[in-house]
Every structure is written in structure tokens, then in C-alpha cells.
């Protein structure tokens, strides 16, 4: 699919989503005011380290957050309809048919006592009136589609007879069975070996180009984003800190966190003596300090001697066309002139 932006209404519009966990130690602001839009047929990447809230965001979209977690604010508009207003019964219908999901551990997501054919047929039967024979035929077709060799026979197999890669293919088949509008893929290749990950990435690229389903791709691996995503949002400590088209973001990461992330990854064929390091650790999401959540680890803040960073939280502003960033290096405020605007402009002209 081309990465051209469409001006039509977004398929999914998430506004000010807040999901908090009420723990014994205090309120954990796992997702704290997240906004993003996913266009039809787009692959939208959500990248960040553990604890940044990317997985909780996806569970919130599906309304699958368990206690002590709670969605406390925001809207999740799927084609204009707010999913957070739906009754549990209506939501059950949405899951699977309009939004579906695949997980990191495909084997534990399949029911061990049924054949994989039965499990796909089950998906059809729950949501559609369809004859057993047609459903079974479609199931085999789907398995063929996701690259399972000899699908007629494999439909009779039980999950334990599949390898990890095959199980993930089956999960993808089940997720796509009802041609959902949106597929949420939560670390779909993280648990797989390198050569199998390559196979699954190849399959997902193929599906991206041949189906109408939009994808939210959740991962910690910038390489997977580079392979698949059209647009990407970087999350840190419960907030989106940068969002842009994938190429633009990789060309010119704006946020110091994104820059640090890219510098800290060893790249094949590009050995350097030392890796760049983001000092410190992710802050606890309970009892957050005021100001930017990245401030305590931010080298740019020290370099430019910015005081505002530890006092006021910056907004997510559009810096370039379609390229948003949440950082005082780029944003004006009463008594604060962003130091990097000119610098970034210069880089633009180059």
C-alpha cells in the first residue's frame, strides 16, 4: 500500500485516552492523554520501551483493560462511533469483526484442545451465519493465504503440533477471518526466531499490500517499524512524544528520546566502539514529577540549559507537516524561546 496520506475521515480517532491503574502504592498513569489517528489501510506503528504504555493503549482500544486498570477519560472513535460508549454486548460484537488482535505469544493464544481448523470455523460461526462446510472451506483458504503448507491437512492439527512461526500465521489467519477494519498486532514477531520473524514480516508486508485492513503495530523494535509501518508514534512514560511518517521520523528524529533510542541500537554492519546511551531509567509512573517526563534523562535539556522542562509539560505540536513532537526544544511558551527551531530549519534546507 502506498504511504500517501488520505484526507478522508480517519478510520480510528483516539482522543485524550487515559488509562490508569489503581495500585496499592498509588495511581499509575500508564496511558496519560494519548491522541492519534489511523487512516484506512494504514499501518500505524506504536513504538516504545516496556512500561511506556503502548500495550495498555492497545488493550484500551479493545476495552480489555482489567482491574485495577481503568479507562478514565478520552474517546476511541472507530468510524465516528465511540467504542468507550458501547455496552459490553455491543463491544463483544466489535471485537473480532471490526477490530481484531494478535499477540506476542501465539501458542498461548490458541486453545490447545481444538484443532486450528475448528478454531477458525468458530470465529466465522460466532459472527456470521454460515454453513459448516463453507466455513471450513474458508478456513482452509485462509490458512493457505497466510502461507501454511498443505492447509487441508494442517487444519486438522492441534496447536501443540505447530511451530511458533506457524502458530503466529494461524493467529493472523484468525484475526483476518472476518475482514476486520483494524488489526492490532502486539509485538507479533518478538517471540520468534530471526529467520521466522523474517517470514512473518514478509507475510505481513504481503497482507498489508493485499487487504483493506488497517494495522496498529505495537513493538519495541524500530527495525520492525522500518519494515512495515507507514506512520509511527513514539511513546514514552504514557505519552506520545513524537509522531510522523516513518521515513520522515527515521530521516530526522526530533525528540531527544527518539534520537537517543536510534543511537543506542547496535546496527548490523555499522560497528562503533561505543553505543550512545540514554542515561538513567524510565521514571515511575506513580507520583510523577512535574514537567516533561523525559527531562531527568534528557541530554538536550542540559546542553541548552532549559529550566522549563522540569516545570511545565510540553504539548504535542506539529513541527513539520505531519511531524509532531512534544518537546520544549521546539515549542514556544511565555518567556521561553525554543532553541532548536532555527537549527531544525537549517537541517531542513540541506
Amino acid at each position: 500500500m502506498s504511504t500517501k496520506k488520505t484526507t478522508t475521515q480517519p478510520l480510528l480517532d483516539v482522543q485524550n485516552l487515559k488509562t490508569y491503574f489503581y495500585t496499592d502504592d498509588g495511581v499509575l498513569t500508564a496511558v496519560d492523554g494519548v491522541d492519534f489517528q489511523v487512516a484506512p489501510r494504514q499501518v500505524f506503528g506504536l513504538v516504545g520501551e516496556s512500561g511506556c504504555g503502548k500495550s495498555v493503549t492497545s488493550l484500551s482500544l479493545m476495552r480489555l483493560v482489567d482491574t485495577p486498570g481503568k479507562i478514565v477519560d478520552g474517546q476511541v472513535l472507530l468510524q465516528g462511533e465511540n467504542l468507550l460508549d458501547k455496552t459490553p454486548a455491543e463491544m463483544t460484537k466489535v471485537r473480532g469483526s471490526q477490530i481484531s488482535m494478535i499477540f506476542q505469544q501465539p501458542k498461548s493464544s490458541l486453545n490447545p484442545v481444538f484443532t486450528i481448523g475448528d478454531q477458525i470455523v468458530e470465529v466465522f460461526k460466532i459472527h456470521e451465519t454460515i454453513s459448516e462446510k463453507d466455513a471450513r472451506q474458508q478456513a482452509v483458504e485462509l490458512l493457505r493465504r497466510v502461507g501454511i503448507p498443505d492447509p487441508e491437512r494442517k487444519a486438522q492439527a492441534y496447536p501443540h503440533e505447530l511451530s511458533g512461526g506457524q502458530a503466529q500465521r494461524v493467529m493472523i489467519a484468525m484475526a483476518l477471518a472476518l475482514k476486520p477494519r483494524l488489526l492490532i498486532a502486539d509485538e507479533p514477531t518478538t517471540a520468534l526466531d530471526a529467520t521466522i520473524q523474517a517470514q512473518i514480516l514478509d507475510l505481513m508486508q504481503d497482507l498489508r499490500d493485499t487487504t483493506d485492513t488497517a494495522v496498529i503495530l505495537i513493538t519495541h523494535d524500530l527495525g520492525v517499524i522500518a519494515e512495515l509501518a507507514d506512520r509511527v508514534a513514539v511513546m514514552y512514560a504514557g505519552k506520545i512524544v513524537e509522531e510522523g511518517d516513518t521515513t520522515a521520523l527515521f530521516d530526522k528524529p526530533l525528540h531527544p528520546y527518539t534520537q537517543g533510542l536510534m543511537g543506542s541500537i547496535p546496527v548490523l554492519g555499522d560497528t562503533k566502539e561505543r553505543l550512545e546511551v540514554i542515561p538513567g531509567n524510565v521514571p515511575s509512573l506513580i507520583n510523577l514529577q512535574p514537567g516533561c517526563r523525559f527531562a531527568s534523562r534528557c541530554g538536550a535539556r542540559v546542553e541548552h540549559n532549559l529550566e522549563i522542562c522540569t516545570q511545565v509539560e510540553p504539548d504535542l505540536i506539529e513541527f513539520d507537516a505531519g511531524h509532531k513532537v512534544r518537546c520544549w526544544l521546539y515549542q514556544e511558551h511565555a518567556g521561553h524561546t525554543p532553541p532548536l527551531k532555527a537549527f531544525a530549519d537549517k537541517k531542513d534546507r540541506k
Binding site: F21, T23, D24, D25, L28, S50, G51, S55, V56, P68, G69, I286
Partner: protein, 316 residues
């Protein structure tokens, strides 16, 4: 190695760190839990009653009042505050068939029941832990033989087994205690075995091995202490069960023998008076129920306090 000599803290200076340990945090969670709070409250009350029984009981629990007071046997409760005529002797829970003050007997019964609960389960925990630890750590045929024996014990209905053991040992409270302890050993043996088996695969145990630590050190210093939390949960829940079993054995006349004030025995000897003198069955029954409930609430509280799920959530 770079030589650095900044001021070094001494071992003694840092002894106050224990209040961040997992055990401490578990107890802090435990104290915040409603179930556990209620359980602890009741249990604390029972322990106080047991300790101060001589002060609380107005009469000697084993002393018949025939000839001392003019009162019928199995007379109902008489409480002056609630309108019982002041010329009658006061008995909060009435008197039993041998004209003994029921209230005093219930109070002294607390001692017996708590002793039964802690001693039986204490024995079972000690032997179960040793058996389970050996079985789980050794593995192979040792494990196989030990666990098959435990399976055989578990296959008997525990109460029947206890009766069978008493038949061999003879009736009496002490033998009933042994019987209940034996019946509970396999429960703890299995629990400890499975904890040991999963803990010995963890990296910190492997790390100990790679440092050159001996198997005994690993078992007793690395593995078993980490099995204690699950053991506490099961032990607390089992104490309630043991008290019930002891009461049931005594009810059948196999456990505590008269005149010992034991709730089960009290129930058993007066069971035919359920309709004529319900207070003689009601109060011992309530006492057993409250005690068992306290242990069960506390056990559930422990389980919740040790549930790692909340800690997990904070990580994701």
C-alpha cells in the same frame, strides 16, 4: 582493580534495611486487606482469650456445680443484665449435663483448639517440608518412591485415615493430634516439593551453583526460604481444617476425652439435647465456626497479599 577508598559504610550501619524486604512488603499488604484484618482481629481476640482464660472464666471449667449452686442441669443462659432474676446464679451460656459452667468451658476450649491447630499443623509442616524438600531436590527414584507413598496417604479419605490411625494408636487427644498431623503431611510434602522443583530451575539458584555453593547450602539457604510464603498460606488454611478435624474426632469420642473442655467433645456429649437444650450445641458450634473462619480469612488474606499479579501489572 582500581583502588578506591572513599568512606565505607560498615555492616552495622546498614542493619535497618530489612523494612524493604519482600516479607515486610507482604505483611504490609496483608495488614491493608479487609479479609485479613477481620481474620487477624478475631484470631488476636482468641489468642487473648486463651492466654487470659483463668481470669476470664468465672468457674473452673471441669468442676461440677452439683451441691455448690442450686441449679438444674442443662439450665439455659442466665444473664442478670438481660433480665434474669438476680437471685439465680449467673451463667452466660448456661450449664451442661454435668452442671458445669458452659461459658467457662468455651473459654478454656479456646486454649485446646488453638493448641490443636498449631501443634498438628506445626508437626505436619516440619515433616512435610523435610520430605518434600528431599523429594524435590533429589528427584529421580527417591522422589518417585516418596511421592507414591504420599499419593497412597492422600488417596484415603483423610478423616477415615485419621480414624484408622487412632484405632491403632488408641483414643485420646494426643493420638488424635498425631493422626491429624500425619494426614496433613502429604499436603505440605507436595507443596514444598513443587516449590523446590520450580525454584531450583531459577537463575539465582543456578548462580549459586556456579559460585561453588554446596547442595545443602543451596537447598536450605537459597531454595527453602523462598518456599516459605506458599507454605504460610497453606498452613494458615490448614489450621482451620485441623481444628475442624479434631473437633469431629472428639465429637465421635475418639479425640479429647471428658472432662477436658474441648468444643468437639462438648458438641458430641450433648448432641441428643439439640432440641431440648439448644444452647449446649449452639455455643460450641459457634466457637468452632468463628475460629475456623478466622484462620480461613487470614489464609485467603495471605494468598492475596502474596499474589504477584499486582507487582506484574506495575511492570507492564
Amino acid at each position: 582493580m582500581a583502588v578506591q577508598s572513599p568512606p565505607v559504610a560498615s555492616v552495622e550501619q546498614v542493619q535497618d534495611y530489612r523494612n524493604n524486604s519482600l516479607l515486610f512488603l507482604t505483611f504490609r499488604r496483608l495488614f491493608r486487606q479487609r479479609n485479613a484484618q477481620v481474620g487477624m482481629l478475631i484470631l488476636g481476640f482468641l489468642v487473648l482469650v486463651a492466654i487470659f482464660a483463668p481470669a476470664l472464666a468465672p468457674y473452673d471449667p471441669d468442676q461440677s456445680l452439683i451441691g455448690v449452686e442450686s441449679i438444674d442441669k442443662r439450665a439455659g443462659p442466665c444473664i442478670h443484665l438481660l433480665g434474669c432474676p438476680a437471685d439465680q446464679p449467673e451463667h452466660y451460656m448456661g450449664v451442661d449435663g454435668n452442671v458445669r459452667d458452659q461459658y467457662s468451658r468455651i473459654i478454656y476450649g479456646t486454649r485446646v483448639s488453638l493448641f490443636i491447630g498449631f501443634s498438628t499443623i506445626g508437626l505436619a509442616v516440619i515433616f512435610g517440608t523435610i520430605i518434600g524438600a528431599v523429594s524435590g531436590y533429589a528427584g529421580g527414584w527417591v522422589d518417585n518412591i516418596i511421592m507414591r507413598i504420599m499419593d497412597v496417604i492422600l488417596a484415603f479419605p483423610s478423616f477415615l485415615l485419621a480414624i484408622a490411625i487412632i484405632t491403632v494408636l488408641g483414643r485420646g487427644l494426643q493420638n488424635a493430634l498425631y493422626a491429624i498431623a500425619i494426614v496433613n503431611v502429604p499436603v505440605f510434602a507436595r507443596l514444598v516439593r513443587s516449590s523446590v522443583m520450580s525454584l531450583k530451575e531459577l537463575d539465582f539458584v543456578t548462580a549459586s551453583r556456579s559460585l561453588g555453593a554446596s547442595p545443602l547450602r543451596i537447598l536450605f539457604i537459597r531454595i527453602l526460604p523462598n518456599a516459605i510464603p506458599t507454605l504460610i498460606v497453606q498452613a494458615t488454611l490448614s489450621i482451620g481444617g485441623a481444628i475442624l478435624e479434631a473437633a469431629a474426632l472428639s465429637f465421635l469420642g475418639l479425640g479429647a476425652q471428658p472432662p477436658l473442655a474441648e468444643w468437639g467433645t462438648m458438641l458430641g456429649t450433648e448432641r441428643n439435647q439439640v432440641f431440648t437444650s439448644p444452647h449446649l450445641v449452639f455455643f460450641p458450634g459457634i466457637a468452632i465456626m468463628v475460629t475456623v473462619l478466622a484462620f480461613n480469612l487470614l489464609g485467603d488474606g495471605f494468598r492475596d497479599a502474596m499474589d504477584p499479579r499486582l507487582a506484574q501489572l506495575a511492570k507492564s
